[in-house]
């Protein structure tokens, strides 16, 4: 009898345990679904909002798409407004590309230094520096750019110091940690035997770096470069502080210019919602968003190629 009792008790307790599991599982699942739903809803509504606002420049204010993308005159107020956004689009692309051109070789060298040349103290020394650099707020970068880079450029080159070169330099420092850390990851996952196969054939360290290590990790490093470019393209504050914010296509590196982001941050507060000026700013935000998608797409493609 007692045995039987025990038996039923055991069955009961295991039953309630199963139920408890079920409930926990259910709660966890619903919470997770809720979070995912929230994420999807906010992304979709943001995309919708930016897109609907962005296209009203063309749909409501009847600005022609070619005038917007290829027009060089930006005078959004007045009786005969003109919404040529090319100077900003060009400014964004020029500063981003220049920043990537400056930062990529430096980052790759830093990453090689940390992983191949002095993997011991090189990594110990540089890793915290890189992490620190990526944590500094952009206003600090802008401020340093304004008080160090701009005066330097003013003294050495013609012009006011403020301009495209200053913007690109500030951006390049900002994206340095992004590219470096992706490159370090890529380099440290390289199979050791691959390097050693090159050594075993009598290649020197430099030959191995140039002919085996860099070519093998290049797709991964390119991912870092594109991520860095995405960051540079979207950066507003620091660039705005040093680029001069003139609505013209720059003809030299030391001339003032604007980027999409700097025009948006400077203009948003001073325009009324729904005005053509305001709508034009949204259109630029739309361009920024599409560019971001493009960057993500490129990164994806690179990752895909890497896994082959």
């Amino acid at each position: 009898m007692r045995v039987q009792n025990n038996e039923t008790m055991r069955v009961q307790s295991s039953k309630s345990r199963i139920e408890k599991h079920h409930i926990e599982d259910l709660v966890g699942r619903s919470y997770m679904s809720f979070c995912v739903l929230l994420l999807i809803v906010s992304i979709v509504s943001m995309v919708y909002f930016v897109t609907s606002r962005g296209i009203s420049t063309f749909a409501i204010d009847k600005v022609s798409i070619s005038d917007f993308f290829f027009g060089t005159t930006w005078s959004p107020e007045g009786d005969h407004p003109s919404f040529g956004a090319l100077p900003f689009i060009a400014g964004s692309f020029i500063t981003t590309l220049l920043a990537a051109l400056i930062a990529s070789p430096l980052s790759i060298c830093a990453a090689l230094f940390m992983t191949e040349i002095v993997p011991g103290w090189g990594k110990k020394l540089l890793q915290p520096v890189i992490e620190l650099l990526s944590g500094i707020p952009s206003v600090v970068y802008g401020f340093v750019g304004l008080s160090v880079i701009v005066p330097f450029l003013r003294n050495v080159f013609p012009g006011q110091g403020i301009g495209v070169a200053a913007g690109a330099l500030v951006l390049s420092v900002m994206i340095l940690p992004t590219i470096t850390s992706v490159a370090v990851d890529a380099l440290s996952t390289l199979p050791r035997n691959l390097k050693e196969s090159s050594f075993a054939l009598g290649a020197t360290r430099w030959q191995t770096i140039a002919r085996v290590i860099i070519p093998t990790t290049l797709p991964a490093i390119m991912t870092g470069v594109v991520l860095g470019m995405a960051r540079a393209f979207g950066e507003a504050l620091a660039v705005q502080m040093v680029i001069g914010n003139a609505p013209f296509i720059p003809t030299s590196l030391f001339e003032s210019a604007s980027t999409l982001t700097s025009v948006i941050t400077l203009g948003m507060g001073n325009t009324t919602m729904g005005s053509p000026h305001n709508n034009a700013l949204w259109s630029m935000a739309l361009v920024l968003m599409l560019m971001t998608f493009l960057f993500v797409f490129v990164v994806r493609m690179l990752e895909k190629r890497r896994s082959i």
Binding site: L194, S198, A200, G202, A203
Partner: protein, 266 residues
Amino acid sequence: MEATLTAPHILQPAKTERDFRTENLSIYYGTYEAVKGISLPFPEKSVTALIGPSGCGKSTFLRSLNRMNDEISGSTSKGSIWIDGVDINASGTDVIKLRQKIGMVWQKPNPFYKSIYENIAFGPKYHGVKGKKALDEIVESSLRRAALWDEVKDRLKESALALSGGQQQRLCIARALSVNPQILLLDEPASALDPVSTGKVEELIKELKEQLRIVIVTHNMQQAARISDFTAYFYLGQLIEYGMTEKVFTNPENTMTQEYIMGRFG
């Protein structure tokens, strides 16, 4: 323990110019002695198999033969490695030149992320081979020596990564042969391969030993018995037994060797 060790009295080969052997070679990782004073000869036109339980220092010993352990920080060594009458373990050795004489292939096939052609041409280019014709010839002869030519001759420009695992491993052997080494070091070259590919690699080793000396690390006793002429049994960094493969496998002098071989065969 010491008493049970076979005195390596057979290890006193004539010191000729064509000599390749180690003498009292010890290798350390920091203060840890992974290989303890090993003297081994590697006779011409022969395959020497290194066997022993995991962690006994086979790879460490093999890697030291082309100074690959130089690449590991904290690794040091004592003793000598004689090649052609020169101690290549001495500090002034030109490691780059030395490594041309000694090819190496690892457990996992690791072709460069390049075309089949470029994989083979990689080494010769660094050793001053110029001109497309000369390189073409080396590529063809290396691939032929590795018994891979017929399978890849129409796709030399394709990525080496598109080859099967077994083909990749033979490509790695061809790559090692491209600089015309006198010695080939193989660290478990077939343990990641299927039986058919393994058979091909073994066949290849048997052919290649007519041209150069081969040192192979293997966990596969049947394989060691099939392809090697001499066998060395390592245990905890020490050389326990060395001799003709037939002798070591049928009538080992040391009971530890016997137990290991029996255990692995069973």
